[in-house]
């Protein structure tokens, strides 16, 4: 006689905790064939508000950690993810309709992408920063620094785990914190990934996951004055021009939508940094 399974309740991930949506709403997540798989929390604007507060609170600590430490914390996520591969393969097969091989390939790619970015934590400032030979008795360095709190829309029609990872990893590397809306119709991997983070060494609030409708949530992000930058990677099917118009109110930096999964690149890291030039007088006496 087969054992009766215990289904998981998928909630939000805010400030290192897993609350239900304050709105009390959930939506059905179905398989490609249309069968019910689970309920996901239908995040609201107030959940978004809470997530931004959590992200803002966590930001100084995350960016203030040493680059080596950030790199290790990010690497730890990949380790834990590797150990829980089977769960992600299963969720991807169930919701995205992938074959076992495709699902495994997506999880592998997600782990490898994560590691690629983790390794940048203590290097990107060296590659993207400069020592400037100014004409005068001054020491002058330009260093990229995290922009702050970043809102992100993960890809909505590509692999749900890989899309999420390729979106948030480059944001986190430099010390930003993030509020991300994962793929709406396949949010399970995002919440399972949040569980990975919760059991790794990631401080609460560094990553916040709000499942639900990007169309509903993105405008609240774009108009939120305490979000410094907006990654529209998965917003291609939204009215992203309007999002950019709303973002312009606070000169929020925006990165335009991409097709599919964002390619791994240093540019995605530096897109969410600010170059700071520091001058100091320099003289022997």
């Amino acid at each position: 006689m087969s054992r009766l399974a215990v289904p998981k309740t998928y909630k939000l991930f805010i400030g290192g905790k897993f609350p239900r949506s304050e709105s009390g709403r959930v939506y059905e997540v179905n398989s490609v064939a249309g069968e019910f798989v689970a309920n996901a929390a239908q995040g609201s604007r107030k959940d978004m508000r809470d997530a931004v507060v959590a992200a803002r609170t966590a930001q100084p600590g995350w960016s203030g950690a040493t680059a080596y430490n950030r790199g290790q914390v990010l690497y730890r996520i990949a380790e834990v993810l590797e150990g829980r591969k089977a769960q992600f393969v299963e969720e991807i097969m169930l919701v995205e309709g992938s074959s076992a091989k495709e699902a495994a390939a997506q999880v592998d790619a997600a782990i490898d992408t994560w590691i690629w970015y983790a390794g940048w934590a203590d290097k990107y400032t060296q590659v993207a920063g400069q020592a400037n030979p100014v004409s005068g008795p001054y020491f002058n360095l330009s260093v990229p620094e995290p922009t702050g709190v970043v809102g992100a829309i993960a890809p909505q029609s590509s692999g749900s785990l890989l899309g999420l990872v390729a979106t948030i990893a480059p944001i986190l590397v430099s010390g930003n914190t993030v509020v991300v809306v994962p793929r709406e119709d396949a949010p399970l991997t995002a919440i399972s990934f949040a569980e990975v983070m919760a059991t790794s060494d990631v401080p609460g609030g560094v990553v916040n996951v709000i499942t639900g409708s990007p169309a509903e949530l993105a405008p609240w992000m774009a108009s939120h004055a305490d979000i410094n930058a907006l990654d529209l990677a998965g917003a291609g099917n939204l009215d992203w021009a309007s999002l950019q118009i709303a973002a312009a109110e606070t000169l929020m930096r925006t990165l335009a939508p991409v097709e599919g999964i964002p390619a791994s690149s240093l540019n995605r890291i530096t897109a969410f940094t600010e170059v700071k030039s520091v001058w100091h007088t320099k003289s022997l006496i």
Binding site: T281, K282, S283, I285
Partner: protein, 324 residues
């Protein structure tokens, strides 16, 4: 403003505490400010005033091993009549000589020996084992007393840079106090004491600031940059820094201390920059002989050439001013 301890209250420790508490100097900012003031454009009537003022502020100097009474008498003659072709040319503030030449200078000046603020010419003597300062305090005091007895109005003493650089600020301080006492005449007046910091050997601006305050605390009437025997001698930033110390001293005590850049100022153009730095740092009331001097020898002739140019409208030649 910081409170100023009295000489009698100071100890080695409290002096050190005071000097260490002075604000630092940022070399880049100081030099930038001096350079900026150096861009002032002094033209026409301002230039004419500046030229006569420079002459009135010069300590015409000869400090050579080869100095003779004849050389000193020649110097005095030039001090009294800088330009025989134009008798409206003012006299210089003082002649500056070694101690053994004071009597000669006093004699050569005759009736014109006196207070430069009254249009006369003073005699300044370098003393205290000038220029190195490497002798015992007893010799330094004797050196000073002899010069004062011979009629010197001003004593240009050197500080013990070795003691200063080794951190023995108290010795430097005590020696200045002692030399100041040696400047006292029988009638209770005393010769003006100029304290030469030899900034070229102190090297850092922080040292110059500390030494300036140390000299003022010890009773120096003037602080002077250099002996002229060490390079670099006077520079515009160092002089600006010393003027800032003098300005702050005045704000704290109401007492005006003089400043004398010496050595290396050779052209009118350079000297005018110093006037600008004085005027814009401590105010132009400092541009009088008892508060500002140029220690110079060749500067005077360049100023005279410029003066002739202003008067005649055409450029002059070195053949139209006397060598000495």
């Amino acid at each position: 403003m910081r409170s100023i301890p009295a000489v009698s209250d100071l100890t080695a420790e409290s002096l050190a505490d005071f000097l260490r508490a002075l604000p630092g100097v940022d070399a880049v900012g100081l030099e930038a400010r001096a350079a900026d003031l150096g861009t002032r454009s002094i033209k026409t009537s301002s230039k004419a005033w500046a030229i006569d003022t420079i002459i009135k502020l010069i300590d015409l100097t000869t400090l050579e091993g080869a100095d003779t009474p004849g050389k000193v008498r020649t110097l005095v003659a030039k001090a009294l009549v800088p330009d025989a072709g134009d008798l409206s040319t003012p006299t210089v503030a003082a002649v500056c000589v070694y101690g053994d030449m004071v009597a000669t200078a006093v004699e050569a000046l005759g009736d014109m020996h006196g207070d430069p603020d009254q249009g006369k010419v003073s005699v300044a003597a370098v003393a205290t084992a000038f220029p190195s300062g490497r002798s015992s305090l007893a010799i330094k005091i004797a050196d000073t007393q002899e010069a004062v007895a011979a009629g010197a109005d001003e004593i240009d003493m050197v500080i013990d840079r070795g003691a200063f650089l080794s951190g023995d600020w108290w010795t430097v301080f005590q020696q200045i106090v002692a030399v100041k006492e040696a400047c006292r005449r029988a009638d209770g007046t005393h010769a003006h004491l100029k304290v030469i910091l030899e900034t070229g050997e102190l090297v850092t601006y922080d040292n110059v600031r500390k030494a300036s305050w140390l000299a003022m605390l010890a009773g120096g009437d003037f602080i002077k940059t250099s002996t002229g025997k060490v390079a670099p001698a006077a520079t515009l930033p160092v002089t600006l820094l010393m003027l800032e110390a003098v300005r702050d001293w005045y704000a704290a005590t109401g007492q005006r201390i003089g400043v004398k850049p010496a050595g290396g100022i050779k052209t009118t153009k350079d000297a005018i920059k110093y006037l600008v730095v004085v005027a814009e740092t401590v105010g132009e009331e400092w541009l009088v002989p008892h508060l500002f001097r140029f220690g110079a020898s060749s500067l005077l002739n360049d100023v005279l050439l410029q003066r002739q140019k202003l008067a005649s409208g055409h450029y002059s030649s070195a053949d139209y001013v006397t060598l000495d």
